[in-house]
């Protein structure tokens, strides 16, 4: 597995029972390496979100093997999976999903608090992160007082606060305008290059796909393309 962070073999995921079974993933083989800046693309219903959920242990595969940072997720209990997500995975959601009763600072701090990091260490790290994501001076604002782009920056700060091995971002730019989307991508790319944070984000947006170092295209629960994002011609050919 080399320097891989996530490793999937023959992963399938079915939803429903009896005659009504939806096969969301149909035998996925995938390895994500440390430092990857990868995008998962594909039409709606192609299995992008299911793939991210299975990778993070939020959902269990129907069959196959999933390993994160050397640990077999299919063998872990719910509590162990929670602990693994808390320490090894950061999440960025399409709808930001910040806690409305917490300020920007407290939202970014929340995961560290759950980890039991002492208050002084939390303060130093979170203030630095808010500065890094361009929200210096806005730490006391509640989510309702921030724009969509600013909320997503807080979400990114929250995701990287615990220095996880992997950040999974589900359509992180879908709810912001193109200028903000570009700024968010700049930020994620900067974190990837400067801090070595591994990113895997799902997207519909071709401009976003073009920024990824690696593109994984899903069609009907199968990997239709896995390669450099720069060769969109190949992708187009595949689509054709």
């Amino acid at each position: 597995m080399g320097d891989s962070i996530v490793w999937l073999r023959a992963v399938t995921k079915d939803y429903g029972q009896g005659d009504v079974v939806v096969r969301a993933l149909r035998g996925i083989d995938l390895t994500l390496d440390r430092g990857d800046f990868a995008a998962v693309a594909g039409p709606s219903g192609s299995g992008k979100s299911t793939l991210l959920n299975v990778m993070s242990g939020l959902d269990r595969p129907s069959s196959g093997e999933v390993s994160l940072d050397g640990r077999d997720l299919t063998r872990l209990s719910r509590s162990e999976l929670s602990r693994l997500r808390l320490t090894r995975i950061g999440f960025v959601f399409q709808a930001y999903n910040l806690l409305p009763v917490l300020t920007a600072y407290e939202n970014a701090e929340y995961v560290l608090m759950m980890q039991g990091v002492p208050a002084s260490a939390r303060r130093e790290r979170v203030m630095g992160l808010l500065e890094l994501v361009g929200l210096g001076g806005m730490e006391d604002r509640f989510p309702r007082e921030l724009s969509g782009g600013q909320q997503q920056r807080v979400a990114i700060a929250r995701a990287i606060a615990s220095e996880p091995a992997l950040i999974l971002a589900d359509e992180p730019t879908a709810n912001v305008d193109s200028k903000t989307a570009a700024a968010l991508l700049d930020l994620m790319q900067q974190l990837n290059e400067e801090k070595g944070v591994t990113f895997l984000f799902s997207t519909h947006d071709r401009k976003v796909m073009a920024r990824a170092g690696r593109l994984i295209r899903l069609v009907d629960g199968r990997i239709a393309y896995d390669g450099e994002a720069g060769s969109l011609e190949a992708l187009d050919a595949d689509e054709g």
Binding site: N53, S56, L58, D59, R78, S79, S82, R83, L84, R85, L86, T87, I89, F91, F93, N97, L99, P100, V101, L102, E106, E109, Y110, V111, M113, M114, R158
Partner: protein, 424 residues
């Protein structure tokens, strides 16, 4: 960022709903605090009226006296017991009892004569002040003897048609078998002090009793009253240690019989009252169940609503790594904060009501004398504003709020994160 602070902010997301729940829980707490205060006031009044009137915290009799009330079963070495009481800083009143006939004109009735030391009674008990008419006996034996003073129970005086100044002929069988008789003058008539005393008490000076009954200084009872400074059990333990010469054992219940005397606390002397007093506490908690249940259901409803509104949020928290236990704890903490706030509010208002009711009381005099099981209650019903009476129902209310949140909390904790995050 503390868990309590997050919980405080969370419960105020829906301010109106939380305000209604706080009002309901606070009101329940207030009602319970006030009711506890009033009932505790009644209980204390009841015990006080009985123990401080004549019963005392502890009584000493010759072994077996209470069973047959034999005139000849006198307390051996009463001075030693009185000395022990004095050493322990406890008031003690020696008494002698005898039965006889009292007559005024052509009216006569059976009576129980009490031979008392008026000064000791005055110091130890409230009896000397419980007079509807007249005054209590003079402290000095000579003065009492000169005026042939006698104090009558209320109903006994009525049945004899006796008034202040009435001359009473007492006829008794003396200890030596002779017939004792004496003429007394009524100097006082007691207020209602309980059925037995009202119907039969004829109280005279100990010296007069000795002469009437030729009792040879017999003492049948020594009643001790610490007036709340020491518990009855401790008083009994000290006495027993003094009588037997053994070291006082704080926790051990004293032997009933020690050195030829029975040493009994008021609970043993009046088990019916003791049971009633204990029943007061139990019935209060039973009554409280209704309020706890109502408040608990209100809190459960609030927390269920809050949980349903935040399904997505709980999904996100689980995705971020929150364990089911942590979510359960967070929801329970919110309920704890809500319950604590509401209970404190209710407790403060309830304490204010109790302080007022402890001071002003509720006037029951229009209903006449109130007796329950022969125990007289004060005409003004006052609340007891004790810390325990306020803290106990308030604390239980907080616990009820937390327990009521466990069901919604468990529901939140069991949510599937993927489904929860896509919940609409």
């Amino acid at each position: 960022m503390g868990t309590l602070r997050i919980a405080w902010r969370s419960i105020w997301r829906n301010g109106r709903r939380t305000a209604i729940t706080v009002a309901a829980v606070g009101m329940s707490t207030l009602i319970m605090v006030v009711t506890f205060g009033l009932m505790d006031g009644m209980r204390i009044d009841m015990v006080h009226n009985v123990t401080h009137l004549v019963l005392g915290d502890v009584q000493v009799h010759a072994t077996g006296y209470r069973a047959d009330q034999s005139f000849y079963k006198a307390v051996p070495e009463p001075e030693a017991i009185l000395d022990a009481a004095r050493a322990a800083g406890v008031h003690a009143a020696p008494r002698a009892y005898g039965y006889g006939l009292v007559s005024v004109g052509h009216k006569s009735a059976g009576a129980r004569f009490w031979g008392v030391e008026p000064a000791a009674e005055r110091a130890a008990f409230d009896l000397a002040g419980k007079l509807a008419q007249g005054s209590f006996l003079s402290d000095s034996a000579e003065a009492s003897r000169a005026s042939r003073e006698l104090v009558l129970g209320r109903k006994l005086a009525r049945s004899l048609h006796a008034e202040l100044g009435s001359e009473i002929i007492a006829v008794v069988q003396a200890a030596d078998g002779s017939l004792g008789n004496e003429l007394f003058t009524v100097v006082g008539i007691l207020v209602s002090c309980g059925e037995d005393m009202d119907r039969s008490a004829a109280i005279i000076h100990a010296r007069d009793f000795e002469l009437l009954f030729v009792s040879g200084g017999r003492i049948h009872e020594i009643a001790l009253n610490a007036r709340g400074t020491v518990s009855p059990e401790r008083v009994a333990a000290r006495l027993e240690a003094a009588v037997t010469g053994k070291a006082e054992l704080e926790e051990k219940k004293p032997e009933k019989e020690a050195g030829g005397v029975d040493i009994e606390t008021w609970r043993e002397l009046n088990p019916a009252l003791s049971d009633m007093e204990r029943l007061f506490g139990a019935s209060m908690w039973l009554f409280s169940l209704i309020f706890f249940l109502a408040a608990g259901l209100g809190v459960m409803n609030t927390m269920l609503m809050a949980t349903f509104e935040r399904i997505r949020e709980f999904g996100v928290l689980k995705a971020l790594g929150s364990t089911p236990w942590r979510i359960l704890r967070d929801v329970a903490t919110e309920s704890f904060v809500l319950g604590l706030f509401a209970s404190l509010l209710g407790a403060v208002l309830g304490a204010a009501c109790n302080l007022y009711l402890a001071h002003a009381g509720i006037d029951l005099s229009r209903y006449g004398d109130v007796f329950v099981e022969g125990v007289a209650f004060s005409p003004i019903w006052r609340a007891a504003a004790s810390v325990e009476g306020i803290a106990a129902p308030s604390a239980v209310m907080v616990v009820v709020c937390v327990l009521a949140a466990l069901y919604p909390a468990a529901k939140a904790a069991r949510l599937d994160p993927v489904r929860a995050m896509t919940h609409v």
